[in-house]
């Protein structure tokens, strides 16, 4: 291996940040559009965190993420961001219009736009960063392919690459494994785990697939507007039959096998 072919760090050096200072904070927030979906939401995202927000569809998870990122103002309470945070965002794949005639590299390059500022066009360094991000998620060979011709899993990787191209400190993902087959889901989650471990990236993801996140997140939050439920804690503390039963309204079994956690609702074969 040539000397200069050392593996590059996944992310460039993060800006100096005082220890213990969180990236984002919600304090006693009521979240929603016109009326509150969830109230009393308190949450801190620290550098290097890995938080998964789970709950049923329509339970307020996406609204929480949008409030956390500052897209929606809280209806009550406070949102704080002690310092600017470089953020990468991965929307639900179905929310991205695949009709646009854009290549994979074009889409990923958009991740660089916020840092460029108004009126400035992307340059060689931006394109190099995009190439690295595409390589990191294993689709470097697809850079010139049309986004609209990709499979669902490839599109998801493209959107993750776009988020990584921003050299983020915080990666926020909304249902990143929605509609994926089990192999693609595992692959996508492995990518996130590696980014988190090797790059020191803070990850916040929302998912209605508890099992998809049970083996990756460090912290878990439950959000369900119908039950007025908001709870956040360490994974071990939250991933208990009692806590999950309160969330899903039925008995839930948590089993560990071969180093992986499996979560089953009781009284049926369907997985939580």
């Amino acid at each position: 291996m040539p000397i200069d072919a050392q593996p590059r760090p996944i992310l460039p050096e993060a800006p100096a940040r005082a220890p213990g200072v969180p990236l984002l904070v919600l304090e006693g927030a009521a979240i929603g559009y016109d009326s509150p979906l969830l109230e009393g939401v308190s949450l801190e995202i620290a550098p290097g965190d890995f938080l998964a927000v789970v709950g049923p569809n329509g339970g307020g998870k996406t609204t929480l993420l949008r409030t956390l990122l500052g897209v929606l103002p809280p209806l009550a309470g406070v949102r704080r961001q002690p310092a600017p945070v470089r953020t990468g965002y991965v929307p639900q794949r179905d929310h991205v219009d695949a009709y646009w005639p854009l290549t994979v590299a074009d889409v990923a390059l958009m991740g660089r736009y916020p840092a460029l500022g108004l009126g400035r066009r992307p340059g060689g360094e931006d394109r190099a960063e995009v190439a690295r991000a595409l390589a990191r998620v294993g689709i470097a060979d697809l850079a010139r392919r049309s986004f609209r011709t990709l499979s669902g899993g490839q599109r998801q990787r493209t959107l993750i690459a776009r988020a990584l191209a921003a050299s983020p400190e915080l990666l926020a993902l909304d249902e990143p494994t929605n509609g994926m087959d089990p192999a693609a889901e595992l692959s996508a989650m492995d990518i996130l785990r590696d980014l988190h471990r090797q790059g020191g990236l803070a990850v916040v993801m929302v998912s209605h697939r508890l099992e998809a996140v049970a083996n990756y997140a460090r912290r878990l939050a439950f959000a369900d507007k119908d039950k007025g439920l908001w709870r956040v804690g360490a994974l071990e503390e939250m991933l208990t039959p009692e806590a999950l039963s309160a969330l899903y309204g039925r008995a839930v079994t948590v089993r560990e096998e071969g180093g992986r956690r499996f979560v089953y609702p009781e009284g049926g074969g369907e997985r939580a």
Partner: protein, 281 residues
């Protein structure tokens, strides 16, 4: 051949209208890429109606105030005010969640259309001009209109050159753009402002209905075969320009209605793209 020679010999008559048609066709072709990709074709239809309503209001005011001469500049200014205000309002409605955005567009379209019919019914002297203004059968375009159209095209070009990446990003994936700190409402407003500005100015040259067609057909034709966004913008602009110029020349030579000829020619341009798309599967 005689008709062509006659057409070429009449350069002084058609030079300004043709120039205006070319600018309007190119401008609408370019903006149409956003209109089609954002699935807001009926927004442009509603804005075209609002622009015509502005024109009717200006004509009614001129008649009720007993102005002897037409004030083209005032008519255009009122049309622009109606169109831009409608564009900003419809853009803002898209961000609201109380009603589907299509409902607001539909209401604007049909109410403006009804008011155009009612207003036209009250016109006494200008009624004969209105058909030409709406359907684009006006042979003569004064040079002052060409200048206004050129200025509008320049403003739109500068805005879209300077803020291309922001307009594309917020149009393609507004959710992510908002999450990364973009004010999608402001960027959508800027995009709709340029469309609202272009429609009345282009309608002076092409007519209201051809403007709607030019905001849809060239972009659709370009998007059928373009695999890059830049190519789509370029091809849609060129198709709009060629359809407007070619339609104007053919309507002169064959003594056909100008607007309809332009639209029909633009429609023909969809065929190669459709064939190419079909061949690709």
């Amino acid at each position: 051949m005689n008709a062509l020679s006659e057409f070429l010999a009449s350069k002084d008559i058609w030079r300004d209208p043709l120039l205006a048609s070319v600018i309007a066709g190119g401008l609408c072709g370019f903006l149409g890429v956003y209109v089609v990709l954002r699935r807001t074709v009926f927004v442009s239809a509603a804005l075209t109606q609002l622009s015509t309503l502005g024109l009717i209001c200006a004509l009614l005011a001129e008649e009720s105030l007993h102005f002897e001469a037409e004030h083209a500049g005032v008519q255009l200014a009122v049309s622009i005010v109606f169109s831009v205000a409608g564009a900003l309002l419809l853009g803002a409605l898209q961000a609201r969640r109380r009603l589907p955005a299509e409902a607001g567009v539909g209401i604007a379209y049909v109410v403006a259309g009804a008011l155009v019919v009612l207003g036209a019914n009250r016109l006494v002297h200008a009624a004969h001009d209105l058909n030409a203004m709406v359907f684009g059968n006006a042979v003569a375009v004064p040079f002052s209109d060409v200048l206004v159209l050129g200025a509008v095209a320049l403003v739109c070009a500068l805005v879209h050159l300077a803020f291309a990446k922001e307009l594309v990003f917020t149009s393609f994936d507004g959710e992510t753009a908002a999450a990364l700190g973009y004010s999608t409402r402001a960027w959508n407003g800027l995009l709709y402002f340029t469309i609202g500005l272009a429609i009345p100015a282009a309608a002076r040259a092409l007519g209201a209905l051809p403007v709607f067609a030019f905001l849809t057909i060239p972009a659709s034709a370009a998007l059928l075969f373009a695999t890059r966004l830049r190519t789509a913008f370029l091809v849609a602009t060129v198709l709009g320009l060629v359809a407007a110029a070619g339609g104007y020349a053919l309507s002169w030579i064959w003594q056909l209605p100008t607007g309809a000829t332009m639209v029909a020619l633009a429609g023909i341009f969809v065929i190669p793209g459709a064939i190419a798309k079909g061949a690709r599967g």
